[in-house]
């Protein structure tokens, strides 16, 4: 079905919903590369005006990728919560935007509606919202997950400690890990991107992480970010697996290019049942996503990159993940060109993920061929802190020497907690207090060379 809007006697016609969504999207290089963007500033606003009038029910009847050919579309439609949707079924996309910002949309109401929203509805409303709208609404959402600690409580901001090393050297990784722990980092997860996908290496790393977590009784969880087929092998080998990782995208074809399918994810999700449970909860999956992955895999099916990204969240929420991380600036300038585009995309991803019920974190990051720098990351870090982001990365000095990109540092996390009065996960905070690493106001204490952690690692 076609959508229309008339501006100064000129009628813009948008052939179908996916075209309308793409043309209504704030400009970014990836959509331009795919040939999907509005051709003029006016056309973009015309598309937004038309989109505002689209009924939410339309999204249940017109799929952006066909139900028959795409398993994520089937997942979205088949798991839609029609009962809760009844309360908002009369809304247009524009109504939804205005309602989300109203006082009627409370934390509890938004939690109840998570499965009444489809990713496309949320992607659509996101396109009509300014950055401050995305922040204001996301801040009202609270998505809490648990394994050995509690992540996502309002007033908390956690970090993934990311102690990568270019050759997976155990001592090198341990050195970065100690540095991070002594700066109060690592409550979301201690997660290593291994340089190799070799199961033997991954298993060695898992044992090392497990030993450290046990020896120092750290209320946190570990993860080695390896392909899920390797993860499955390690579960079968009874390796000490806490969180199981996988990169996912928002079309069946994208996931195919990642070597993953809903069937495989279901299989792993079932296998997790055989693992020892977390001490206070059992959220076990760790997913990473990012705008542009579908286009990069030549699997976007004519759908704009922000909508594709939101569709990936339908996959994630099926598995009650502990953490979902949009690695927003990693993909490069052909998808998100500069600081402005990265900041916008990160706020969109965090907003969409949260409304869809996910424990969203963001890897606030950029590569050296993008027109961005640490000032842009400071801006984004502060904005996401205000928006209530569940977790960010903690990388030594913000410089990942294995993946060759820049993210946020241990210091950055302390900054954002301090200026926004945020705390780490409560169980982890207790541990930091016991270890004499931080005080209860979030100040780092002076640590001498005889500290228990340094002496016994």
């Amino acid at each position: 079905m076609a959508y229309r809007s008339t501006i100064r006697h000129f009628t813009y016609v948008f052939d179908d919903l996916k075209t309308l969504l793409a043309k209504a999207t704030p400009y970014r290089s990836g959509d331009a590369l795919a040939g999907l963007t509005a051709l003029t500033y006016e056309e973009r606003i015309a598309a937004q005006i038309a989109l505002a009038d689209v009924s939410l029910k339309t999204f249940l009847n017109e799929a952006v990728i066909s139900y028959e050919t795409d398993d994520i579309t089937r997942l979205i439609i088949d798991t839609h919560d029609a009962k809760q949707f009844a309360a908002i079924a009369h809304f247009t996309v524009g109504d939804l935007r205005d309602w989300l910002l109203s006082d009627d949309a409370t934390t509890t109401t938004l939690q109840q509606l998570a499965f009444a929203f489809t990713p496309e509805m949320i992607a659509a409303v996101c396109k009509l919202m300014r950055n401050q709208d995305l922040i204001a609404v996301a801040q009202k959402c609270e998505v809490v997950t648990r394994f050995r600690n509690t992540i996502g409580l309002s007033g908390c901001l956690s970090t993934r400690l990311q102690p990568n090393h270019p050759t997976d050297d155990i001592k090198g990784i341990a050195a970065s890990m100690v540095d991070g722990l002594l700066y109060g980092s690592g409550d979301a997860v201690i997660g290593i991107n291994p340089a190799t996908d070799s199961p033997a290496t991954v298993e060695t790393l898992l044992h090392m992480l497990n030993d450290v977590i046990n020896k120092f009784s750290i209320p946190t969880q570990s993860c080695v970010l390896t392909h899920i087929t390797t993860g499955l092998q390690l579960i079968e080998r009874k390796a000490p697996v806490d969180l199981v990782f996988q990169s996912i995208g928002g079309t069946e074809k994208t996931n195919h290019s990642f070597g993953v399918s809903l069937k495989l994810l279901d299989e792993v999700f079932a296998a997790i049942e055989s693992l020892p449970k977390g001490t206070i909860g059992n959220n076990r999956m760790y997913f990473e996503t990012g705008q542009g992955s579908s286009l990069s895999a030549n699997a976007h099916e004519g759908v704009d990159q922000q909508t594709c990204e939101a569709r990936a969240y339908a996959v994630a929420r099926r598995y009650q993940p502990h953490l979902v991380n949009s690695v927003v600036g990693f993909i490069g300038p052909e998808y998100l060109y500069d600081g402005k585009q990265i900041i916008r995309a990160a706020l969109e991803d965090h907003f969409c993920g949260k409304l869809l019920g996910l424990p969203m974190g963001v890897d606030i990051c950029y590569t050296n061929h993008a027109a961005a720098d640490q000032d842009d990351m400071d801006t984004l870090l502060t904005l996401l802190g205000v928006a209530g982001c569940n977790f960010i990365m903690g990388v030594p000095g913000a410089d990942d020497i294995m993946l060759n990109y820049q993210s946020t540092s241990f210091h950055d996390a302390l900054y954002v907690r301090k200026v926004l009065h945020k705390k780490p996960s409560p169980e982890f905070e207790q541990w930091l207090l016991q270890q004499g690493i931080m005080d209860d106001e979030g100040n780092r204490l002076t640590i001498d060379a005889n500290h228990y952690l340094l002496k016994n690692i």
Partner: protein
């Protein structure tokens, strides 16, 4: 507090751990911030990386230096107009401009191997490391009686080697290309080899050796690896993910 005497920067007590990693650990702090000295080190590394992205291939100097090998040398350019277009449109950086296509079509010679020196995301890497690597590699390849041509390629992506290789009827293309600069190194060179280069191939058809630079994989080691992969590739008549880099076994033989 006596502001004049107070030193705001507190060092970290675990400097010794720096011996295990090049990561930016034990930076110290002032309040919760990174001390200025470390901040400026970081910014300098980022400046080097940014400058490398916008650096130009020194075609004239490279062409002169390449004369030492007594091989045919061609200067080529992708269809990309400027660096901005290069960054936004990877597809255009994989195609040769008309003048380059005509230049190659006007030569009827065919070669076993065409070596392409492509700027990629760090012309600095090629300007510094391409010729010293070839000084180690070319003699090994000539000893094996391969016929070789060399080209430079400006504003080029890896897959430009497919276009060049097929236009030159080469059996194998070896693309030396500047890798995306990191903060630890803005001059890392990658080597991608593709057997039977044809337009439209993707990365699984190639073998790659990354991080070629004196502080990473040095020239001699890189040359040995590349020579090994090229020899295997010619023997098996394919390249890519199924061609393993089991050079250790090879060296042990």
């Amino acid at each position: 507090m006596d502001i004049q005497k107070h030193k705001p920067v507190e060092d970290d007590a675990w400097h010794a751990l720096k011996q295990f990693t090049a990561a930016r650990i034990a930076l110290g702090r002032t309040g919760h911030a990174v001390p200025l000295k470390e901040l400026l080190k970081f910014k300098l590394a980022h400046a080097h990386a940014r400058d490398a992205v916008y650096a130009r291939l020194h075609v004239k100097e490279l062409t002169q230096e390449l004369q030492q090998f007594n091989l045919p040398v061609y200067s080529l350019h992708s269809k990309v107009k400027d660096r901005n277009e290069y960054l936004l449109h990877p597809d255009i950086g994989r195609q040769l401009n008309d003048a380059s296509v005509q230049l190659l079509q006007s030569r009827s010679a065919s070669f076993d191997i065409v070596v392409v020196l492509a700027d990629g995301l760090s012309a600095t890497a090629i300007n510094h490391h391409a010729v010293p690597l070839l000084q180690q590699l070319i003699p090994l390849l000539q000893e094996a009686k391969f016929s070789i041509a060399i080209t430079t390629a400006q504003q080029a992506r890896v897959a430009v080697g497919d276009t060049i290789g097929s236009l030159m009827n080469a059996k194998l293309s070896l693309v030396l290309i500047g890798e995306r600069p990191g903060l630890s190194a803005a001059d890392s060179m990658g080597a991608y080899l593709t057997y039977n280069p044809t337009v439209g191939l993707t990365d699984e058809s190639r073998n790659c050796i990354s991080n070629i630079r004196p502080e990473g994989i040095d020239y001699a080691k890189a040359a040995t690896k590349i020579h090994y992969l090229i020899s295997s590739s010619f023997r098996l008549q394919y390249s890519g993910v199924t061609l393993k880099d089991d050079e250790q076994d090879f060296l042990a033989e």
